[in-house]
Amino acid sequence: MAFVASMPTRRFAAKPGQVIAVSVIALFLLVFLIIPAGTVIYTAFTEKGTGALTVVNFIDFFNTDLFRRSFFNSIYVSGMSVVWATVIALPLAVLTTRFDFRGSLIIQTLGFVPLIMPPFVGAVAMQLLFGRNGTVNLILNDWFGIRLPFMEGLNGVIFVQSLHYFPFILINLSTSLRNIDRSMEEAAQNLGSSGIRLFRRIVFPLAMPGYLAGASLVFVKVFDDLATPLLLNVKDMLAPQAYLRVTSVGLTDPMGYVISVILIVVSIFAMWLSAVAMRGKDYSTTQRGGGGLAKRKLSRGESVIAYGVVALILLLVLSPHIGLLLLSFATVWSFSPMPDDFTMAHYARVFGESSIYIKNTLIYASLAGLIDVVIGGAIAYIVLRTKIIGRRWLDWAATAALAIPGVVLGIGYLRTFYGITLPGGTPLATLWVMVVLALAIRRLPYALRACYAALQQVSESLEEAAENLGATKQRTIRRIVLPLMTGGLLAGFVTSFSTAAVELSATLMLIQSNSDAPIAYGLYVFMQSPAGRGPGAALGVIAVVLVAVCTLLSHYVIERRQRAIGMNK
């Protein structure tokens, strides 16, 4: 034993193949993430025309009434979205994890449905359901003579965003709640605590890290989102302002870049804040000698209330989807609680004229997913299995993409690659490949986590056994590591694919012609005009179905594979 332990470890010298892999990845991240982001930041700090370094742009920003208002609106909308997302997610998370609650699986699944549709798509349907003359307000007006301003101005953005992003809190909070060992609660009961007090003093503090992780994610996502406020015609927020400056005033206007920098800074600040709050608080308490999870039974009265609350929340959460579905079949739907009549015409039109959107989406999203899995898998392998100097930097750089909002990346690509033209005369920035690369960069951090998880499941001794029997590193990777990672890589691919398929922020900046546009862009174009709403909704339904089918299919494949090789416990 002692001999084995004192032997030098095997991976000091980097193999040429590894060096090449590291270089290629580094180059990719440099050209498509760091340089564009750096260009945006640099431009924000240079004087227009002269190119001298200055902070005058930022002084201008804060001296402009519109920008100041946009800034505070963005903060307010993000904050309130977190509050409302919490109101939605908290009861769902607590009921499904801490109680013996029938339908937990359905709730946990349905809870994720909002994520497979871009929020702005739901926004239009939400207008029809909750707007000033929407279904709910028409009914309220009929019965009580009141109207509630669900969708007025910033309220609308908050409403749509919290309905869309609450799953982030639900997922993280549920995970945290599930990780609390029952002995934690039992000890408190044993010492005389019960009910709400027990929840407040023990359970919630222990779940806090998960909650904060989810809440900061919601904050950042809402803060960076471009399409929802645009579609709801709310322009005095930061992301829409950045977009409008660049598209209407032009690429040389410094304000777009200043806003971009502020978006980045606030994103990083929110993530840093949650990281600080969570430091040293890995409260995962399921442990040796623990008793697993405590699930309490509900009394009859509690059940009635609980099911009522859950039903109400789910109805609310699914209302954008229901509205969209209605809209996609509606002939005319205006000033009435329900559409006047139903038709298949919108679907016919979408399949007739707009199948190009679907085709483009499939191509872009699969390419982006593929790039993510290849690069993510390579980074995971390099970080976990080699000792190459600087390997951590690859990880950090790839993860840094989290802090770059889609709008900012889009602006960065335009600025960086616009000057570079192809032989035909088209600028590099407007080539459809750029959309793919932007999507790949944006989704890389998520795919990377999936790849890490997949590789960590593969015991190193399995590789050592292969090498011991005479397989080279490359052949070990091909014959042992990759087959065992397939499930995880597929999961990473699906994450990238399904979110890339509905992403709009970066796409909106980079797409120049309809023939290159993916579904999200097509949706956006359709949804701009009242006449386009029907076909837009049909396209939205198709997108939801597309993503849902792909996700379910891959789940099925992963499950089957895991079972086949006995990795399921």
């Binding site: 060992d181 002995s183 934690m184 039992e186 000890a187 408190a188 009961q189 044993n190 010492l191 005389g192 605590s193 019960s194 007090r197 003093r201 023990i202 503090p205 222990l206 806090m208 040293g280 608080k281 409260y283 308490t285 442990q287 040796r288 000698g289 623990g290």
Partner: protein, 365 residues
């Protein structure tokens, strides 16, 4: 409450525990079967048994985390079976310690007192007293994650004692400690229990732990109490094969009873027969049981009975040599004291086994 000036006393009045006719099911699974048990005030009592025997289930029933369909659990004269756990005043130390990571040591210990809405000054005094009792006054402001396993265990103990529980329940308290700490902590536990005179139940699967610290032991198997007694009782007079086998090493020989009355003999399968002392109670299907140290090899003392066998293997253990002797179809273990210069018996050689009749037991499953 009696309060002294130097040390605010943690007052405890020893309570008896009486459990009668308790049955517990997990769905169709019958986990506790007809449990009847009397634990005396101030007793240090062990639940001993292999994993899955029901010992922890019964402990959690007493603490109020499981409910029985019928029966009674009376603590200090009060039936607590239908009382929620937070009203029982039954202190439990969890196997995992269950210290809350978001609170300091002092806050952990204060928790139960705060739940009782005691005045701040009294809480502080009792937290101090409880921490002093386990020798951790200096670590009051630490977080549980900054403590060693042994220290965490003491915090868990202090937290429980601080509420002055009627009885103390310890669920495998030593299982997360290393071997050396285990011996140390179990002595401390015994000492503390003696000082507080607190009725204590100790759940363990380790017979050595139960033997060394407890006044009496209940041996569990498959949801039933097999036997209750002092450690020596259980070792010397096990009620059945399970108890004999679970506590210490036991040699078990198959065979059958021949004859009747004063002339009964026990024919060991394939190895001759030995007389059964008159008046011995031999249950149906009984097997011959004896401890490794109650037999001799190579000679038979006067009045002892003999069996022939073959030396199969031998292990030198220092103070003793343990021989494996094939007797009929079985192999028995015999411990022989080692004397300097003495040789070992050669493997494969035939030999004779001497057995003291009074140390032989006939036990059934």
């Amino acid at each position: 409450m009696n309060v002294s000036i130097n040390k605010p006393a943690l007052s405890t009045a020893a309570k008896a525990i009486s459990i009668s006719d308790v049955n517990l099911y997990y769905g169709a699974l019958h986990v506790l079967k007809d449990i009847n048990l009397e634990i005396k005030p101030g007793e240090f009592f062990a639940f001993l048994g292999p994993s899955g025997c029901g010992k922890t289930t019964l402990l959690r029933l007493i603490a109020g985390f499981n409910t029985a369909r019928n029966g009674k659990v009376v603590i200090g004269g009060e039936d607590v079976l239908n009382m929620p756990s937070w009203k029982r005043e039954v202190g439990m130390v969890f196997q995992s310690y269950a210290l809350w990571p978001h609170m300091t040591v002092a806050r952990n210990v204060a928790f139960g007192l705060e739940e009782r809405r005691l005045p701040r000054a009294e809480i502080d005094a009792r937290v101090q007293a409880a921490l002093a009792l386990v020798g951790l006054e200096k670590l009051a402001d630490r977080r549980p994650s900054q403590l060693s396993g042994g220290q965490q265990q003491r915090v868990a103990l202090a937290r429980t004692i601080a509420i002055e529980p009627k009885v103390l329940l310890l669920d495998e308290p030593l299982s997360n400690l290393d071997a050396k700490m285990r011996v140390e902590v179990r002595r401390e536990l015994r000492e503390l229990q003696q000082r507080l005179q607190l009725t204590t139940i100790f759940v363990t699967h380790d017979q050595e732990e139960a033997n060394t610290v407890c006044d009496r032991i209940a041996v569990f198997n498959e949801g039933r109490i097999q036997q209750v007694g002092t450690p020596m009782d259980l070792y010397e007079k096990p009620a059945n094969l399970f108890v004999a086998n679970f506590l210490g090493t036991a040699n078990i020989l198959d065979g059958r009873v021949i004859g009747s009355g004063a002339n009964r003999t026990f024919e060991v399968t394939g190895a001759g027969s030995i007389p059964i002392p008159p008046g011995t109670d031999v249950p149906a299907g009984a097997k011959l049981v004896f401890r490794p140290q109650y037999a001799t090899i190579g000679y038979v003392q006067p009045g002892w009975v003999s069996l022939s066998g073959t030396v199969m293997h031998c292990e030198f253990l220092g103070a003793t040599v343990r021989y494996g002797i094939a007797v009929g179809t079985a192999t028995v273990m015999i411990d022989v004291p080692f004397h300097s210069g003495a040789g070992l018996l050669p493997i494969g050689s035939p030999t004779v086994l001497g057995l003291q009749p009074s140390s032989a037991l006939w036990l059934a499953e």
